[in-house]
């Protein structure tokens, strides 16, 4: 059963939720759209919000995170877990592409050894999705298994129907949030379907991913193709750090006189030192790192989890300083005859 909420009532609704959760909503401090703690009254983001620069993964796999603290006394070392963060988060306005990315990340952090830091944050969080009305030029979610209004990976999904939102209840957690909201009318539901179709049709960027796993496998050793593809890449970390499905991290200690904290922080396979060992670096050449990124997302991850680790959010295309475009690269991966070099 669908509910509805008028746009004028959003502030009230967020305040109500704010009693139980730490509400995060889009903000534009210093011109950078990001999920930040909601200030308690301003909902003008509904007018300008498209998507954040920093993806929601930052709330679950933060750029820098304490793992544990260590200290020393006369009997030796002691290890303490970091102060517990019992806070429940509510992410308001997460887009379907980013929500799907969270589901893709879950596969890694639940697999084999469970990652306690990420999973605890995920358990304590609620995702309130906001369907897109105005996809960007760089968006290509419809080619990556989702859509601008897909509600599969959120707890509730808000679809824009003019003065109000249709509220789709997806999970039990979501149903808890929508208690007290009015029921949607048949007319509302028709408007919502129209809104979904309009948003879907606005996506202009398309990518055909059929057979990409095999094409990449066969082209893996094509140094000429990868060198050409990597020529203008400058090996910064933007496409990976700001990708909602990338998760590589580094582990470092910070200490003074033997006491301190072990942190984990964002890292990127694009950095030259990422794979450096004392005697050799298997990816010292740029084209190998570019190849790793493309293959990991479009070949290796699907081999392990049956899903391409890309949701078409378009951040990498928009934010890349040299406009290196993953959709152009995927389209240009050659189809090789099996057996031929």
């Amino acid at each position: 059963m669908n509910k509805k909420v008028s746009k004028k009532e959003i502030a009230q609704l967020l305040q109500k939720w704010g009693q139980q959760f730490n509400v995060l909503a889009p903000s534009r401090a210093s011109g950078v759209a990001a999920m930040a703690e909601w200030d308690g009254k301003d909902t003008s983001f509904l007018d300008w919000y498209r998507n954040t620069v920093v993806p929601p993964k930052a709330r679950f796999l933060p750029p820098m995170e304490e793992m544990f603290r260590f200290s020393k006394d006369e009997e030796g070392y002691n290890i303490e877990p970091p102060p517990k963060n019992e806070q429940k988060q509510l992410l308001f306005g997460i887009r379907p592409c980013d929500a799907r990315a969270m589901a893709i990340l879950d596969m890694t952090f639940e697999d084999a050894y469970k990652d306690p830091y990420y999973l605890e944050k995920r358990r304590n969080a609620v995702l309130v999705g906001l369907g897109c009305t105005n996809p960007c030029e760089s968006c290509f979610c419809t080619s990556m298994g989702t859509s601008p209004t897909d509600s599969t990976n959120v707890d509730i999904m808000l679809i824009d129907i003019g003065d109000a939102f249709l509220v789709e209840e997806v999970t039990d957690k979501g149903k808890e949030l929508t208690k007290g909201l009015k029921e949607a009318t048949k007319n509302d539901e028709t408007e919502a379907e129209k809104s979904k179709k309009t948003a879907y049709d606005k996506i202009t960027r398309k990518l055909n991913t059929e057979g990409i796993k095999d094409r990449l496998l066969e082209s893996f050793d094509d140094e000429e193709f990868w060198s050409r593809t990597a020529a203008k890449c400058i090996s910064c970390g933007i496409c990976t750090l700001l990708c909602p499905t990338c998760y590589c991290f580094d582990i470092n200690d910070e200490a003074v006189r033997g006491e301190g904290t072990r942190f984990r922080s964002w890292d990127s396979c694009g950095f030259a030192l990422y794979t450096k060992m004392p005697m050799e670096n298997p990816r010292s050449e740029k084209w190998r790192r570019v190849r790793q990124k493309v293959c990991h997302k479009y070949e290796f991850y699907p081999m392990a989890f049956d899903v391409i680790a890309c949701t078409g959010c378009g951040r990498c295309i928009r934010l890349c300083p040299v406009n290196w475009d993953i959709t152009q690269v995927i389209e240009s991966v050659p189809q090789k005859v099996k057996g031929a070099k």
Partner: protein, 290 residues
């Protein structure tokens, strides 16, 4: 296809968290070569020290608190569990710090991680161990495991070499294996050296001279990547099929559990699905970067 069966591996989490190390105390330090030291250690928690189990080939993440972690295989054998051992070559920040530690110092240990040598596949086989430099460390865990269960395995040949006599590691092991009549121990150094009366030649070449038979045999190769790359063709010439060649791959590692992404080769994480792989598996990786 990932190759792990994590559930079957022994797991010992500190504070219920796979990332938290156990505290361990260094009990003995052996200077193998000017750059390599072996550390004997035991867990501070006596209960854990008694219960801890691992298998040959697995590794641990060792912490110097304040400086970070480094990856080393467990070089002692599971058949001799009174203490644990690992060998460290001095190359960077953490390894230099480890070398500055003395007996009684405390380190962190996370593990055991990774897969292990497939002992079931080695039963009754002729074993050919090929090692170079500090690469003997993971091998010695398996070799002592084999020696302590000698009747389970057939012939044993060990070809081990280093650049110079001073670079030979685990000399006390080499002497013991040399004395063992059931083992053919061949030690070599790369070039002639004063006072050296043993074999001279690079390990792959000496292996070719020793020419062990490939029939019912399994070769286990550990050493610098370049030595491994030259050893595989020698083994192939002797008739070993890729499935008969095992090795341990070395990659930069941080988490040790297949999450941070560093050791990713194709669809495999060396820390979780390895480090022990057969050459046949390696050839089938989606990536040729090993």
């Amino acid at each position: 296809m990932t190759i792990s069966d994590i559930e079957k591996r022994p797991q010992f989490f500190a504070q219920d968290n796979v990332y938290t190390p156990h505290i361990a105390v260094i009990e003995k330090i052996i200077e193998e070569t000017p750059g390599v030291r072996t550390f004997h250690f035991n867990f501070k928690d006596k209960k854990l020290a008694k219960e801890f189990r691992f298998e040959s080939g697995q590794f641990g993440q060792y912490s110097v608190f304040g400086l970070g972690e480094a990856t080393f295989c467990i070089s002692s054998s599971p058949t001799r569990p009174d203490h644990l051992e690992f060998a460290v070559q001095r190359v960077g920040r953490v390894t230099n710090a480890l070398h500055r530690l003395g007996v009684g110092a405390e380190i962190g240990f996370r593990g055991p991680y990774g897969n292990s040598f497939p002992l079931d596949d080695l039963k009754g086989k002729n074993l050919v161990f090929v090692g170079g430099g500090i690469g003997l460390a993971p091998l010695r865990s398996l070799i002592w495991n084999v020696v302590d269960n000698r009747d389970t395995y057939n012939k044993v040949v060990i070809v081990y070499g280093a650049r110079t006599p001073a670079d030979l590691c685990f000399r006390y092991d080499l002497e013991a294996w040399d004395k063992d009549k059931t083992i053919n121990m061949v030690t070599t150094i790369d070039r002639e050296a004063e006072g050296w009366t043993g074999k001279v030649g690079m390990v792959p070449n000496v292996l070719g001279e020793v020419a062990p038979s490939a029939k019912d045999a399994v070769a286990i190769v550990c050493g610098p990547p370049i030595m491994i790359r030259f050893t595989f063709p020698v083994l192939e010439k002797l008739g070993f099929r890729p499935a008969q060649m095992l090795t341990t791959l070395e990659k930069r590692m941080k988490c040790g559990i297949g999450k941070c992404g560093r050791c990713n080769i194709g669809d495999v994480y060396v820390c979780r699905d390895g480090p022990v792989f057969s050459y046949e598996q390696i050839k089938n990786f989606a990536s040729s970067e090993y």
